[in-house]
Symmetry: C2
Amino acid sequence: MTDAFRPEARAPRGFIDKRAADLRAERRIVESVSAVYERYGFERLDTGAFEYADALGKFLPDADRPNEGVFALQDDDEQWMALRYDLTAPLARFAAQHWETLPKPFRRYAVGTVWRNEKPGPGRFREFVQCDADTVGSARPEADAEIIAMAVEGFAAAGLPQNDYVLKINSRKLLNGLLTSAGAVDPGQRLAVLRAVDKLDRLGVEGVRLLLGAGRRDESGAFTRGAELAGPAIEAVIAFVEAGGGARSATLDRLAGVIGGSAEGDEGLEELGRIGAALTSLGVAEDRAVFDPSVVRGLEYYTGAVFEAELLAEILDEKGQKVRFGSVGGGGRYDDLVARFTGQPVPATGFSFGVSRLAAALRASGLDHAAEARGPVVVIAFDAASMGEYFAAAAELRAAGLPAEVYLGASGMKAQMKYADRRLSPAAVILGGDEIASGQVTIKDLDLGRELAAKVADNRQWREDRPGQLTVARSELVAAVRRIVEAPR
Amino acid sequence: MTDAFRPEARAPRGFIDKRAADLRAERRIVESVSAVYERYGFERLDTGAFEYADALGKFLPDADRPNEGVFALQDDDEQWMALRYDLTAPLARFAAQHWETLPKPFRRYAVGTVWRNEKPGPGRFREFVQCDADTVGSARPEADAEIIAMAVEGFAAAGLPQNDYVLKINSRKLLNGLLTSAGAVDPGQRLAVLRAVDKLDRLGVEGVRLLLGAGRRDESGAFTRGAELAGPAIEAVIAFVEAGGGARSATLDRLAGVIGGSAEGDEGLEELGRIGAALTSLGVAEDRAVFDPSVVRGLEYYTGAVFEAELLAEILDEKGQKVRFGSVGGGGRYDDLVARFTGQPVPATGFSFGVSRLAAALRASGLDHAAEARGPVVVIAFDAASMGEYFAAAAELRAAGLPAEVYLGASGMKAQMKYADRRLSPAAVILGGDEIASGQVTIKDLDLGRELAAKVADNRQWREDRPGQLTVARSELVAAVRRIVEAPR
């Protein structure tokens, strides 16, 4: 190599490489959630990675400043493009572009990578996989219910046990109605109220009460200005956010008592009532999808119902510490997103699985089915002249549906066995000169080797039932390997 | 809507939206090719969309100018990042970064989007899906053979008929050996020879002969300088590129007569001989993988064997015009790519399926299995008060594995039937007030409707065998819909 410049081999900050073991959970989620979406009649749509920056515009969820937080570049015709920040903005652009010719309501799902140009750090990435379903063109609350039902089914299909997750449902209209009744009409003030409510989990009721009023000073001494609501309004908001819990209809009854009165609040209540009824028709259990008035979910994006998926399972990290995964998906009704392009409001609702985060949770809780990680059968290579024999053996195994490879490195027998073990191969196939001459093949049971290593005590019993190595007629190769691969472990 | 600014709803130039029908072929290719790779013991690896620009560096295939043709932007720490141009450069970076801890040889496959910042135009896109397999750390020609065998199996698994594709194999070493024997040692001159040979398909033998000599003036009058080889060298190159065709061993025999002599040429011949032997052991037919000395494949990238997959099927476009799809994948041996980072040469070989282009070819040739496009069963919605009945019916169908949805728009019966037809639904489920009261359900056979529309002549016969609409007991819903969905069409 005469090339003098040697770049350092490293991935850009905030981007990670995922090996097969890391990807197993992610692929399982995407496949099983996609199957749920298709069963509900949603059709797949893939849009490109880039959108024009003006099409993404200010509709970045949770971001008050437009064009912050995206990877943007200028095309050679001077137009600014940005990598998509989520899968909803591209859908809104697509729906606006093709509205006349689409079947309506338009039900689409999407699986794809999204990018956020945020400060990277340990566990903070800039690239995620999402898996969304949205219904565009239906104002019916039943469309929201269906989206929620699919999310619940999706979590189950992805392998989460029943009690490990919950969908929390709220309506932006309820809180808006409450604020209107309380006389808070200024948009800035209303945003401040939403922000305060959104901090309930972190700050508790007392912290939220301060943020609804004059403001709050944190431990570091920093002061956050409050929403400056009057005392009775503060108490109404607190009563509202504490009205959740229990069966869906019971929550609605409590909420009716708290917000009753404003037209928007009543509308929100009626919609939640219809969502609840549809969830029951769809067979969604009371404890898998609950009404929770403390859910805010984004700030300027949603116009009606909002959904948030939360993991409940206690997950321990490698050090035995409890990890809080929190939100692993969310969505809601956004009736203004398509109107941004066309001027015509189009009702829409959807949900997005945070695939990367959910996969991390499945891995951390050991639910990612490590057994599937088993590597291929490795055919040991002794002699270049016998390569044809090795390849024929591997091809035979593959044709029988058993993943197999010939070792193609330059190392000897011992390194090859170590390689097979590192690949988590179930078996190594040995075709030495003697075996070939006598029409035989030797098979080494590597699964057994790993089991023995794991439980040394039962050593003798195991050896009697299942020899670590056996020599059979070459014609018995597939059957003998299959016995090892399919042995109960 | 008070928002005054309305961006135009359009996708950036060179990026396209893909609907379910467009994606069917692409997904089938990715799934079946991935299954082949896994059967051969390759493990999946996903890297991020971005790499540091210096890591992509000059190793853009087919590009002489570094950093041209990529989407690049500067990170907030001033480092330049670029979206990956292919899946090989990120693999080289990953392998260099983790070489010490990887099982060797490292066999990985990858599926992902790649981006090329080229001038967009009709049919010219800037975003593609690729599906690659590479073996890093094996210098054995058998590793090349295995890559070729997987490509051949991959095309078959993706649904291409036997005679519709061929893998063409060459070795950079043969041409290098030939040039050395002919006294052409200047790198610029050798590159010019490769460029000339690469144009054989387009310009024919006479055009290539001119480009190997003084140069060629095209129809527009533009002059391309030639490689300025001497007459005997030109004839040797021409004899070389014309030596292909027929059985693999016959081609090698002819090539031995043409290039014989140089050490590098002999090495190339010996490697192709071993590749041919391994292909035979692997059961790869003589006409699916051929030696073709006219294949060049990239300019500065490959160091040994090169592979190019070509579609042979005559494919007609919508206007009945023959479309030439040409290359739908390729690869080869690149022994210097990892060394760029580490200084240590690491032998590597791989193949990349051009998934997007192959999908376009499958669609154009009607091999994308349009039948799978059928939409969900649609439950007609008459009355908000009966939504529970509709949802329960849809849930029942889905639980039985039949995709189904409740119509959630605001239109009447006629528009709903039209919607179901546009979605290519097999059946519409009608639960009117009468049906609900009498415990029945009416099912409209939409498959039949479409068949009747297609063959009006057989109208009466069809009606006798299969009623267009039937009313059954509500408990018979799933069975009756299943009969329609599973009826032979």
